[in-house]
C-alpha cells in the first residue's frame, strides 16, 4: 500500500496487515511518531482533525465508508489538509505568499498587483550602475520575465557601483553575470540574455514585446536610440543619467507626455559633457537613480501612483537634495512631435550627436 503526504513529497510503502483506513492511520502514527500523530489526530478527542481530508484512490472517505473504508493491496491513500502549506492559495504558492508578503499587504499592490508583476515583462538596457539595482529590485519584486542587454564583460573597475556583479564574475559577460545574480535572488524570474550592443540595427527587434524598458545605458547615442525606438513602438520607459554626484531621471509614456528629445534635441558633441569614465561617479548615485527607475517600472505595471511623466527629477548627492523640473511635450519634437521626423531609426545618425539627417 502506498501512503502519500499532502504534497506528494514523500511516499511510503506501508507493508502491514491493514484492513481499514482506521488501521492505516493507527499504523502511520506508530511509524512516524507522536508529533505526526498530533498533526492528524486530535489527542483529546482521538478523532481525525476536522481540517484533514482522507482520500482513498482519489475518493473522499466521507463518500465511502468513513474510517471503516476497507483497503486492499495497491490502494493509494492521501491525507490532505484543507488549505495549508504546499497548496495554492488564490493562485499563489505558500512560498510566494511569504516571499512577497511585505508588498502583498500594500493596498496599492495586493494580490492583483502581484499577479500583474508576475505577468510583466521588463527589459533592462545595460547591466551597469543603473541596471544593477533596477534589475535586482525588479527581480525581488517578482517581475515575471526580464531581459538584459549588454555586450560588455565584467571589469574590476565596474564593481564600485555595478552591484549585480561580483568579484568572481570578472571577465564574464555582464548580461550572463546579471542573470546569475537575478536567479540567485529569485529563481522564479524568467531571464532572457542579449549579449550584444543595443544598436539601430537590432533596437526594434530587441524592444519588441516588452511592457516596460529601463534605460540603464551610459552614453548619449544609446539613450537617444532607446528614446526613438520606444517612441516609435509606443513602449513606456524610464530614462536616467548620472555623473559625479548628480543624477537625473524621467519616465516616458510615448504620446502621453514628453519624451527625452523634448528635453534635449540632440546629444552634446563629444567632449562637451564628460563621461563617468573621465569625470567619475559616486557608486550610490546610480544606485539611487536605478532604484527610482525600478520603482517607476513597478508603479507602471501595477497601475498605481504618479509616474515621473512630464517631470525631470534631479538628485544631488553632495548637497543631498532632490529637485524636480517640469518637462513639456514639444509639438515640434523630431521623435514625438505632432509631425515627427523620425519614422525610421535609419534617419538618425547615432554615431555622434544623434541628429536627424537632413533630407
Amino acid at each position: 500500500m502506498i501512503f502519500k503526504d499532502a504534497v506528494g513529497a514523500t511516499e511510503t510503502n506501508v507493508d502491514l496487515q491493514i484492513a481499514t483506513v482506521k488501521n492505516l492511520i493507527t499504523a502511520l502514527v506508530e511509524k512516524f511518531g507522536q508529533q505526526f500523530g498530533e498533526k492528524i489526530i486530535d489527542p483529546k478527542t482521538r478523532e481525525l482533525r476536522r481540517y484533514i481530508n482522507v482520500f482513498v484512490n482519489g475518493k473522499d472517505i466521507r463518500n465511502l465508508q468513513g474510517f471503516e473504508t476497507r483497503l486492499k493491496e495497491g490502494d493509494e491513500v492521501a491525507l490532505i489538509p484543507a488549505i495549508a502549506g504546499g497548496s495554492d492559495f488564490l493562485g499563489f504558492t505558500q512560498d510566494q505568499i511569504v516571499r512577497y508578503s511585505r508588498q502583498l499587504i500594500l493596498k496599492e499592490v495586493g494580490g492583483m498587483g502581484q499577479r500583474k508583476l508576475m505577468a510583466s515583462k521588463i527589459l533592462i538596457i545595460g547591466a551597469g550602475g543603473l541596471g544593477s539595482p533596477a534589475a535586482l529590485y525588479l527581480a525581488a519584486a517578482g517581475v515575471g520575465k526580464m531581459g538584459i542587454i549588454d555586450s560588455d564583460k565584467v571589469d574590476l573597475s565596474n564593481l564600485q557601483r555595478q552591484i549585480i556583479h561580483s568579484t568572481k564574475a570578472i571577465g564574464k559577460a555582464k548580461a550572463r553575470s546579471a542573470k546569475d545574480s537575478i536567479l540567485a535572488l529569485n529563481p522564479e524570474v524568467d531571464v532572457v540574455v542579449f549579449e550584444e550592443r543595443f544598436e539601430p540595427e537590432n533596437a526594434l527587434d530587441v524592444i519588441k514585446g516588452w511592457d516596460f524598458v529601463v534605460d540603464g545605458s551610459d552614453n548619449f547615442p544609446t539613450k537617444f536610440l532607446v528614446n526613438d525606438a520606444c517612441v516609435l513602438k509606443g513602449i513606456p520607459f524610464s530614462h536616467a543619467g548620472v555623473l559625479r554626484f548628480v543624477g537625473m531621471t524621467t519616465t516616458i509614456i510615448p504620446h502621453k507626455g514628453p519624451c527625452y528629445r523634448c528635453l534635449i534635441k540632440e546629444a552634446p558633441p563629444p567632449g562637451v559633457v564628460p563621461t563617468c569614465q573621465e569625470a567619475g561617479v559616486l557608486g550610490t548615485v546610480p544606485g539611487v537613480m536605478g532604484t527610482i527607475q525600478a520603482s517607476e517600472a513597478i508603479k507602471f505595471i501595477i497601475g498605481s501612483g504618479d509616474l515621473l511623466v512630464g517631470r525631470v527629477l534631479y538628485f544631488d548627492a553632495l548637497g543631498m537634495k532632490f529637485d524636480q523640473f517640469e518637462l513639456r511635450r514639444n509639438p515640434k519634437c523630431p521623435s514625438c512631435g505632432d509631425r515627427p521626423l523620425i519614422k525610421d531609426l535609419s534617419q538618425v545618425d547615432y554615431g555622434t550627436v544623434c541628429r536627424v539627417r537632413s533630407r
Binding site: 481540517y51 489538509p81 488549505i83 488564490l90 511569504v98 502583498l104 499587504i105 495586493g110 494580490g111 492583483m112
Partner: protein, 79 residues
C-alpha cells in the same frame, strides 16, 4: 452573527502571523464591497491581529467567535 451570509470562506489553520493577515487580505480583495469573508484560524495572536488589520484597512469586523479548542471564526464585511 449566525444570520450573516458568507460569500467566501478561508481556512487558514496552521498559518501564523503575518501570513494570517496576508491571506485574509488576499481573500477579501477578491470580494465585492459589502460581501462577507469568513476566516477560520488557530493562531492565537491572529485572533486580535487579523480583525485589527482588517479594520485598519476600512473593513467591518462583524464578529470574532471561538468555535473550537483552538479554532476561531472571524467574519469581515468588505468596505
Amino acid at each position: 452573527m449566525t444570520e450573516v451570509k458568507v460569500d467566501r470562506k478561508i481556512d487558514i489553520r496552521g498559518d501564523v502571523c503575518p501570513y494570517t493577515f496576508v491571506k485574509s487580505k488576499l481573500a477579501i480583495e477578491e470580494l465585492k464591497s459589502g460581501q462577507v469573508l469568513e476566516i477560520i484560524l488557530d493562531h492565537d495572536p491572529a485572533v486580535e491581529n487579523v480583525p485589527r488589520s482588517m479594520e485598519a484597512d476600512g473593513h467591518k469586523v462583524l464578529g470574532v467567535k471561538k468555535i473550537g479548542k483552538k479554532e476561531w471564526q472571524i467574519l469581515v464585511r468588505k468596505a
